[in-house]
Protein backbone atom coordinates (compact mmCIF):
# COMPACT_ATOMS: atom_id res chain seq x y z
CA UNK A 1 0.00 0.00 0.00
CA UNK A 2 1.16 3.50 -0.78
CA UNK A 3 -0.32 6.35 1.20
CA UNK A 4 0.09 9.94 0.04
CA UNK A 5 -0.53 12.39 2.86
CA UNK A 6 -1.06 16.06 2.07
CA UNK A 7 -1.36 18.97 4.46
CA UNK A 8 -1.82 21.51 1.72
CA UNK A 9 -3.59 20.11 -1.34
CA UNK A 10 -4.85 22.20 -4.24
CA UNK A 11 -6.73 22.34 -7.46
CA UNK A 12 -4.38 22.94 -10.37
CA UNK A 13 -5.57 25.25 -13.09
CA UNK A 14 -3.48 25.44 -16.25
CA UNK A 15 -4.38 28.22 -18.67
CA UNK A 16 -2.87 29.02 -22.05
CA UNK A 17 -2.78 32.41 -23.70
CA UNK A 18 -0.84 34.05 -26.50
CA UNK A 19 1.17 36.35 -24.27
CA UNK A 20 0.93 37.35 -20.63
CA UNK A 21 0.71 41.11 -20.31
CA UNK A 22 1.07 42.60 -16.84
CA UNK A 23 -1.40 45.32 -16.00
CA UNK A 24 -3.68 44.36 -18.89
CA UNK A 25 -6.73 42.17 -19.43
CA UNK A 26 -5.51 38.72 -20.52
CA UNK A 27 -7.92 36.39 -22.28
CA UNK A 28 -7.07 32.71 -22.17
CA UNK A 29 -7.40 30.38 -25.11
CA UNK A 30 -7.51 27.12 -23.17
CA UNK A 31 -8.23 26.09 -19.58
CA UNK A 32 -7.69 22.78 -17.80
CA UNK A 33 -8.22 21.94 -14.14
CA UNK A 34 -7.33 18.89 -12.09
CA UNK A 35 -6.48 17.64 -8.63
CA UNK A 36 -3.26 19.23 -7.49
CA UNK A 37 -0.69 19.75 -4.81
CA UNK A 38 2.46 17.67 -4.55
CA UNK A 39 0.79 14.69 -2.94
CA UNK A 40 -1.91 14.46 -5.61
CA UNK A 41 0.72 14.79 -8.34
CA UNK A 42 2.61 11.85 -6.89
CA UNK A 43 -0.56 9.80 -6.45
CA UNK A 44 -1.59 10.44 -10.06
CA UNK A 45 1.85 9.57 -11.40
CA UNK A 46 1.89 6.39 -9.32
CA UNK A 47 -1.51 5.43 -10.67
CA UNK A 48 -0.23 5.89 -14.21
CA UNK A 49 2.65 3.55 -13.38
CA UNK A 50 0.24 0.88 -12.20
CA UNK A 51 0.48 1.38 -8.45
CA UNK A 52 -2.62 1.76 -6.29
CA UNK A 53 -2.02 4.79 -4.08
CA UNK A 54 -4.35 6.14 -1.45
CA UNK A 55 -4.59 9.90 -1.00
CA UNK A 56 -5.25 11.46 2.38
CA UNK A 57 -5.66 15.15 3.01
CA UNK A 58 -7.80 18.14 3.78
CA UNK A 59 -10.47 19.37 1.39
CA UNK A 60 -13.13 22.05 1.61
CA UNK A 61 -15.61 24.02 -0.45
CA UNK A 62 -16.34 23.65 -4.15
CA UNK A 63 -12.64 23.40 -4.97
CA UNK A 64 -12.29 20.61 -2.44
CA UNK A 65 -15.07 18.71 -4.20
CA UNK A 66 -13.31 19.34 -7.52
CA UNK A 67 -10.08 17.96 -6.06
CA UNK A 68 -11.75 14.79 -4.81
CA UNK A 69 -13.68 14.30 -8.05
CA UNK A 70 -10.44 14.61 -10.00
CA UNK A 71 -8.82 11.90 -7.91
CA UNK A 72 -11.87 9.67 -8.25
CA UNK A 73 -11.84 10.08 -12.02
CA UNK A 74 -8.32 8.67 -12.00
CA UNK A 75 -9.40 5.76 -9.80
CA UNK A 76 -7.47 7.02 -6.76
CA UNK A 77 -9.17 6.37 -3.44
CA UNK A 78 -9.13 9.18 -0.93
CA UNK A 79 -9.69 9.76 2.75
CA UNK A 80 -10.61 13.33 3.48
CA UNK A 81 -10.71 15.57 6.48
CA UNK A 82 -13.48 18.02 5.52
CA UNK A 83 -12.60 21.66 6.06
CA UNK A 84 -14.73 24.79 6.28
CA UNK A 85 -12.31 26.79 4.17
CA UNK A 86 -12.02 26.14 0.46
CA UNK A 87 -9.14 24.18 -0.98
CA UNK A 88 -6.62 26.50 -2.61
CA UNK A 89 -6.13 26.94 -6.36
CA UNK A 90 -2.72 26.93 -8.03
CA UNK A 91 -2.69 28.81 -11.31
CA UNK A 92 -0.21 27.98 -14.05
CA UNK A 93 -0.05 30.28 -17.07
CA UNK A 94 1.66 29.09 -20.24
CA UNK A 95 2.15 31.48 -23.14
CA UNK A 96 2.80 30.70 -26.79
CA UNK A 97 6.56 30.97 -26.29
CA UNK A 98 6.42 28.26 -23.63
CA UNK A 99 7.03 30.61 -20.71
CA UNK A 100 5.45 29.25 -17.54
CA UNK A 101 4.20 31.55 -14.77
CA UNK A 102 2.88 30.08 -11.54
CA UNK A 103 0.61 31.87 -9.08
CA UNK A 104 0.26 29.73 -5.97
CA UNK A 105 -2.16 30.35 -3.15
CA UNK A 106 -0.62 29.74 0.23
CA UNK A 107 -3.53 27.82 1.66
CA UNK A 108 -4.62 28.31 5.21
CA UNK A 109 -2.61 26.87 8.09
CA UNK A 110 -4.43 23.93 9.59
CA UNK A 111 -6.60 24.87 12.55
CA UNK A 112 -8.92 22.49 14.32
CA UNK A 113 -11.72 25.10 14.31
CA UNK A 114 -11.71 24.90 10.50
CA UNK A 115 -12.59 21.22 10.43
CA UNK A 116 -16.10 21.10 8.99
CA UNK A 117 -17.35 18.42 11.33
CA UNK A 118 -15.91 15.99 13.77
CA UNK A 119 -14.83 12.98 11.77
CA UNK A 120 -13.91 9.53 12.87
CA UNK A 121 -10.22 8.91 13.49
CA UNK A 122 -8.50 8.26 10.20
CA UNK A 123 -6.99 4.82 9.93
CA UNK A 124 -4.11 5.69 7.67
CA UNK A 125 -2.26 2.49 7.14
CA UNK A 126 -4.41 -0.37 8.41
CA UNK A 127 -1.13 -1.43 10.02
CA UNK A 128 -0.03 -3.21 6.88
CA UNK A 129 3.57 -4.21 6.63
CA UNK A 130 5.51 -2.66 3.82
CA UNK A 131 3.41 0.47 3.55
CA UNK A 132 5.15 3.37 1.93
CA UNK A 133 3.96 6.63 3.37
CA UNK A 134 4.60 9.84 1.50
CA UNK A 135 4.42 12.94 3.59
CA UNK A 136 4.04 16.35 2.04
CA UNK A 137 4.09 19.34 4.26
CA UNK A 138 4.71 22.99 3.70
CA UNK A 139 4.72 25.30 6.67
CA UNK A 140 1.43 23.87 7.86
CA UNK A 141 1.70 21.96 11.12
CA UNK A 142 -0.88 19.87 12.83
CA UNK A 143 -1.63 20.87 16.40
CA UNK A 144 -1.19 18.23 19.06
CA UNK A 145 -4.95 18.08 19.69
CA UNK A 146 -5.53 16.88 16.15
CA UNK A 147 -2.62 14.48 16.09
CA UNK A 148 -4.16 12.81 19.11
CA UNK A 149 -7.37 12.14 17.23
CA UNK A 150 -5.65 10.64 14.25
CA UNK A 151 -5.02 6.95 14.66
CA UNK A 152 -2.32 5.42 12.53
Amino acid sequence: MIVCVSANPAVDKRVRLPKLALGRVNRVSHVQAAAGGESAHVAMALRALGSVPRWIGFAGGATGQELLAGLKDLDISSVTVPMKNATRVNLEIIDEDGNVTEILELGLPFQHKNVAHSSRPVNLFSAKQGTICLLFFLAACLPASYRNSTRI
Binding site: I2, V5, D12, R14, Q32, A34, A35, G36, E38, A40, H41, V42, A43, M44, A45, L46, A48, L49, G50, S51, L74, E92, I94, G98, V100, E102, F125, A127, K128, Q129, G130, T131, I132, C133, L134, L135, F136, F137, L138, A139, C141, I152
Partner: protein
Protein backbone atom coordinates in the same frame (compact mmCIF):
# COMPACT_ATOMS: atom_id res chain seq x y z
CA UNK B 1 4.25 10.32 11.55
CA UNK B 2 7.63 9.06 10.39
CA UNK B 3 8.10 7.19 13.67
CA UNK B 4 4.60 5.71 13.45
CA UNK B 5 5.20 4.63 9.88
CA UNK B 6 8.34 2.83 10.98
CA UNK B 7 6.52 1.25 13.91
CA UNK B 8 4.26 -0.53 11.41
CA UNK B 9 7.15 -1.62 9.28
CA UNK B 10 6.57 1.00 6.62
CA UNK B 11 8.83 3.44 4.88
CA UNK B 12 8.44 7.19 5.04
CA UNK B 13 9.24 9.27 1.97
CA UNK B 14 9.30 12.96 2.77
CA UNK B 15 8.93 16.01 0.58
CA UNK B 16 9.24 19.23 2.50
CA UNK B 17 11.76 21.98 3.04
CA UNK B 18 13.18 24.45 5.52
CA UNK B 19 12.38 24.01 9.18
CA UNK B 20 9.94 21.08 8.70
CA UNK B 21 12.66 19.18 6.81
CA UNK B 22 15.25 20.01 9.45
CA UNK B 23 12.96 18.72 12.21
CA UNK B 24 11.92 15.63 10.28
CA UNK B 25 15.45 14.48 9.53
CA UNK B 26 16.03 13.47 13.13
CA UNK B 27 13.16 10.97 12.79
CA UNK B 28 15.08 9.13 10.09
CA UNK B 29 12.92 9.39 6.97
CA UNK B 30 13.69 6.70 4.43
CA UNK B 31 13.89 9.16 1.56
CA UNK B 32 13.96 12.92 1.10
CA UNK B 33 14.10 14.87 -2.13
CA UNK B 34 14.49 18.59 -1.77
CA UNK B 35 15.12 20.52 -4.94
CA UNK B 36 18.29 22.52 -5.28
CA UNK B 37 16.97 25.70 -3.67
CA UNK B 38 15.37 23.77 -0.83
CA UNK B 39 18.59 21.88 -0.12
CA UNK B 40 20.76 24.96 0.01
CA UNK B 41 19.51 25.81 3.50
CA UNK B 42 22.09 23.22 4.59
CA UNK B 43 24.72 25.80 3.77
CA UNK B 44 25.97 24.40 0.50
CA UNK B 45 25.72 26.30 -2.72
CA UNK B 46 24.57 23.64 -5.17
CA UNK B 47 25.64 24.21 -8.73
CA UNK B 48 26.46 20.77 -10.08
CA UNK B 49 26.39 17.05 -9.32
CA UNK B 50 29.43 17.25 -7.07
CA UNK B 51 28.00 19.96 -4.82
CA UNK B 52 24.64 18.14 -4.84
CA UNK B 53 26.41 15.00 -3.62
CA UNK B 54 27.95 17.03 -0.80
CA UNK B 55 24.50 18.30 0.21
CA UNK B 56 23.13 14.76 0.08
CA UNK B 57 25.91 13.65 2.43
CA UNK B 58 24.74 16.30 4.89
CA UNK B 59 21.11 15.18 4.61
CA UNK B 60 22.14 11.60 5.32
CA UNK B 61 24.41 12.65 8.18
CA UNK B 62 21.42 14.52 9.65
CA UNK B 63 19.26 11.39 9.62
CA UNK B 64 17.85 10.67 6.17
CA UNK B 65 18.48 7.11 5.00
CA UNK B 66 18.45 8.10 1.36
CA UNK B 67 18.32 11.40 -0.46
CA UNK B 68 18.00 12.78 -3.96
CA UNK B 69 18.44 16.31 -5.24
CA UNK B 70 17.01 17.46 -8.50
CA UNK B 71 19.08 19.89 -10.50
CA UNK B 72 16.15 20.62 -12.78
CA UNK B 73 17.35 20.69 -16.37
CA UNK B 74 20.84 19.69 -15.21
CA UNK B 75 20.00 16.22 -13.94
CA UNK B 76 19.25 14.26 -10.81
CA UNK B 77 21.59 13.03 -8.05
CA UNK B 78 20.72 10.23 -5.65
CA UNK B 79 22.33 8.24 -2.87
CA UNK B 80 20.38 5.05 -2.08
CA UNK B 81 19.95 3.71 1.42
CA UNK B 82 22.81 1.63 2.76
CA UNK B 83 25.00 2.70 -0.10
CA UNK B 84 28.17 4.73 -0.29
CA UNK B 85 27.71 5.25 -4.00
CA UNK B 86 26.11 8.39 -5.33
CA UNK B 87 24.33 8.09 -8.67
CA UNK B 88 23.84 10.85 -11.22
CA UNK B 89 21.62 10.79 -14.26
CA UNK B 90 21.80 13.31 -17.05
CA UNK B 91 18.56 15.06 -17.95
CA UNK B 92 16.39 13.56 -20.64
CA UNK B 93 15.71 15.94 -23.48
CA UNK B 94 12.00 16.36 -24.16
CA UNK B 95 9.86 18.99 -25.85
CA UNK B 96 8.47 20.18 -22.55
CA UNK B 97 5.04 21.72 -22.15
CA UNK B 98 5.76 22.60 -18.56
CA UNK B 99 8.04 21.37 -15.79
CA UNK B 100 5.44 21.95 -13.08
CA UNK B 101 5.01 18.73 -11.09
CA UNK B 102 8.12 17.05 -12.49
CA UNK B 103 9.77 16.87 -9.08
CA UNK B 104 6.66 15.13 -7.77
CA UNK B 105 6.64 12.72 -10.71
CA UNK B 106 10.29 11.98 -9.95
CA UNK B 107 9.35 11.10 -6.37
CA UNK B 108 6.63 8.82 -7.74
CA UNK B 109 9.28 7.05 -9.80
CA UNK B 110 11.42 6.44 -6.72
CA UNK B 111 8.40 5.18 -4.77
CA UNK B 112 7.30 2.84 -7.54
CA UNK B 113 10.86 1.57 -7.86
CA UNK B 114 11.00 0.89 -4.11
CA UNK B 115 7.71 -0.97 -4.27
CA UNK B 116 8.92 -3.05 -7.20
CA UNK B 117 12.30 -3.70 -5.59
CA UNK B 118 14.30 -2.28 -8.48
CA UNK B 119 18.06 -1.90 -8.28
CA UNK B 120 19.77 1.44 -7.91
CA UNK B 121 20.42 2.23 -11.56
CA UNK B 122 16.95 1.13 -12.65
CA UNK B 123 15.39 3.15 -9.85
CA UNK B 124 17.17 6.33 -10.84
CA UNK B 125 16.43 5.71 -14.50
CA UNK B 126 12.72 5.29 -13.74
CA UNK B 127 12.62 8.39 -11.54
CA UNK B 128 14.28 10.51 -14.21
CA UNK B 129 11.96 9.14 -16.89
CA UNK B 130 8.92 9.99 -14.77
CA UNK B 131 10.15 13.54 -14.27
CA UNK B 132 10.67 13.94 -18.00
CA UNK B 133 7.36 12.27 -18.89
CA UNK B 134 5.57 14.75 -16.65
CA UNK B 135 6.85 17.54 -18.90
CA UNK B 136 4.89 15.95 -21.75
CA UNK B 137 1.66 15.54 -19.78
CA UNK B 138 -1.47 17.62 -20.21
CA UNK B 139 -1.48 18.44 -16.51
CA UNK B 140 0.98 18.08 -13.61
CA UNK B 141 1.22 14.49 -12.41
CA UNK B 142 -0.89 13.08 -15.22
CA UNK B 143 1.94 11.43 -17.08
CA UNK B 144 1.50 8.50 -19.45
CA UNK B 145 3.12 5.14 -18.84
CA UNK B 146 3.99 4.88 -22.54
CA UNK B 147 6.10 8.03 -22.27
CA UNK B 148 7.86 6.68 -19.18
CA UNK B 149 8.65 3.38 -20.92
CA UNK B 150 9.94 5.17 -24.01
CA UNK B 151 12.11 7.56 -22.01
CA UNK B 152 13.58 4.75 -19.88
CA UNK B 153 15.07 3.28 -23.02
CA UNK B 154 16.94 6.46 -23.95
Amino acid sequence: MIALTHRFGGKAFLDTSGEPLKRALSAGPDFVKPNREEAEWLGNSISDAKSAAAAIAKLIAAGAKSAAISLGPHGLVWQPAKSRSVFYVLPLKVAARSGVGSGDATVAGFVHAAQEGLGSEDSLNLAAACGAANCLADLPGQLHARDVHRLRKL
